[in-house]
Symmetry: C3
Subunit: 283 residues, 3 copies
């Protein structure tokens, strides 16, 4: 087995065919590469969701060139960048914060360069498909050994804007990062936040979770190690495989069962005895 | 051309990004492999649908390592297994019957071993993402040449539970296995079942098909060799490309046109002259 | 890096698993190939949409074997063909016009042969899955070096039927080719058609666009170089990355915002002062 093939991944909000065109551009420049579509179905313009996906996924992919494109600013003057990480990867995409959380997980930003050198773009760059015309050609050339400093001037990547969890004594408020395919909510909180709010939290501990907008609601849940800790149809909180706090219903969609569509923030508390069970405002 | 690259396929109910993470783990361990996503869109928790897909697809894929993951029991004590087939493949997934019909098509089960050896798991196995932490690392190591006996103790795979077709004289009752992307129903019956119920059945023979739940209905159809045997919008029964009996509407969705949502069992009969045509209870 | 791996792409209306089975057949015959799924989500039976996708995408993919399958005639006597292009590609698919616009972009049709030789089909061709049984085996064999003349007799590919744009003085009527994933309409007109109707058209020029079926409607827009030329939620016309005229709404779905579902033809005109703004019949 040859171990020397460069690795390129692609994650976009383009859908399948446009992402495959990007893969085709990479193969044209770097025919010896392994090219993997990490995702072509990030929610359109969902920079935060895309950033969380890259942060979660890239540590499990080979060291390589990882293209991430969620780019509401395409056609405006925002910079395209290549970000080299401590692990040895190069992340390629728009400079809107998308790549930065993943870079932090991969050993941090070593250096970053703008993609300005026309030698590493397709001829005739379009105004709308920088994935094909700028990002993929850069990725292909980096995969064949190009030093990122050849791409353009050094830059400092912009950070991603994400609300922080709010910890009070016995209460934890966290943002909803995104809803996954199974209807489970991935929340912007980690085990350390739970510990700061509640102290030690053994599996099986009852909690309540409440939200106020777009319509008030709440649910009684338990904190579990795994979906299997509750019976099918029962809600739970847990720590997902990437270390995020999650809100789920075993074998069903939490978003549907609990009525969580459009909810952007939830608060966990110790349950009170007189709490209304199920959906409805807290009294 | 080099002919020696190991081949790994992945079929899951995870959606695209989680399945691609599994592919990334395989590439990390076996960078020389060809990795193909067979499906990332099996209906969540649809063990039977996944089993039928693997049984249908794997005979057309190269001999290799085939990962199948539809796993309602993730996080519970069900075993992860590797199943070696007579053709020389190794099927990797949960021991819930998912892999067994495909193994039967690939020369039968030669031996099976539980995935217990921590040397062939990722460090820090999560409770929810065994695809990434257990199944994909095992697949990667097998692709690089690991003998399956190194993974853990020998086991006997559990069978898949599927209802059998019921044959009466002039009547065949079959389960709905799944509805495909075009809205055609794939049914748990084969040509031999048709012959047992009806004797020789030339193409063009009229039949009626009826169902009683969730709401009663029926349709007059013809048994055809191909969709092209009837005009667009007309229903038909046929034998699909994997040898299953199917119920379809030429160039339309049978599920929609005939009102088959939620139907789990259908019965084929010779048409009677006084039968109500179209949907409606049989008298 | 080895530069000699043959390249095979697949574009179908089958959905993921059936397309992956085709990829598996290619890998079985040509294990050294790079196989890329260009699309598995063309609208079922959407020959025109598929043809536009291939025409747009293939110039950006490596020279290779490109399988395109949108085949309402599967199971009828229409021919399967392989079309060699001036660039050196071979396009494989049904002879229904699907492949012809792409071939024109790739240097034109050099020669075409029907896929008749049973040596290059799977044994036991099914009536419904020619992608697996005829097209993919042909692609695999061509990728390993088979001359297309070995496949069957020379044929003349049938053209694709697409309505032409209608240019009047100050007015351009164009067909809707398809609606993309973002809800933007891709229209059958190009910059030369705009110039013929309107003369020079600087970015920022106001236009109106109107349609009469399935319900009459119109909108005031501007002609822009890029989405970023208007604020979020504002409609625009533009030239997309493949050179087609498009109708879009910045960061939203034009199909939803403007009510364009089912619209097959639109007309662009210079705006009149007394025009009703927004949806509604033109007076």
């Amino acid at each position: 087995m040859r171990e020397s093939r460069p690795f390129v991944s692609l994650a976009t909000d383009f859908g399948g065919a446009y992402t495959a065109i990007c893969a085709g551009v990479v193969y044209t420049i770097a025919p010896g590469a392994n090219v993997l579509v990490l995702s072509d179905e990030i929610t359109p313009f969902g920079v935060r969701e895309g950033a969380m996906l890259l942060r979660q996924a890239l540590p499990y992919l080979p060291v390589g060139v990882h293209v991430g494109i969620v780019d509401p600013g395409v056609g405006t003057p925002r910079l395209p960048v290549a970000v080299e990480t401590g692990r040895g990867d190069v992340l390629v995409g728009p400079d809107n914060g998308l790549l930065v959380p993943a870079a932090a997980r991969l050993g941090g930003v070593v250096r970053a360069h703008a993609l300005e050198n026309p030698a590493y773009r397709l001829p005739g760059v379009s105004t709308s498909f920088h994935g094909r015309d700028i990002f993929s050609p850069a990725a292909g050339h980096i995969a064949t050994g190009l030093d990122v400093a050849e791409l353009g001037p050094a830059v400092e990547p912009l950070p991603l804007e994400v609300p922080s969890p709010v910890v009070r004594d016995g209460e934890l408020t966290v943002p909803v990062l995104y809803t996954d395919r199974f209807g489970s909510l991935v929340l912007g909180g980690e085990p350390a936040d739970l510990a700061a709010a509640f102290g030690p939290l053994p599996h099986g501990t009852p909690l309540e979770v409440a939200w106020t907008a777009p319509a008030p609601g709440s649910a009684r849940i338990t904190f579990e190690e795994t979906f299997g800790g509750v019976s099918p149809g029962t809600p739970l909180a847990w720590i997902d495989s990437s270390g995020w706090l999650g809100l789920a219903v075993n074998q069903e969609s939490a978003a549907e069962v609990l009525g969580l569509a459009g909810v952007e923030t939830v608060t966990f508390r110790r349950p009170r005895e007189n709490l209304t069970v199920g959906n409805g405002p807290l009294t």
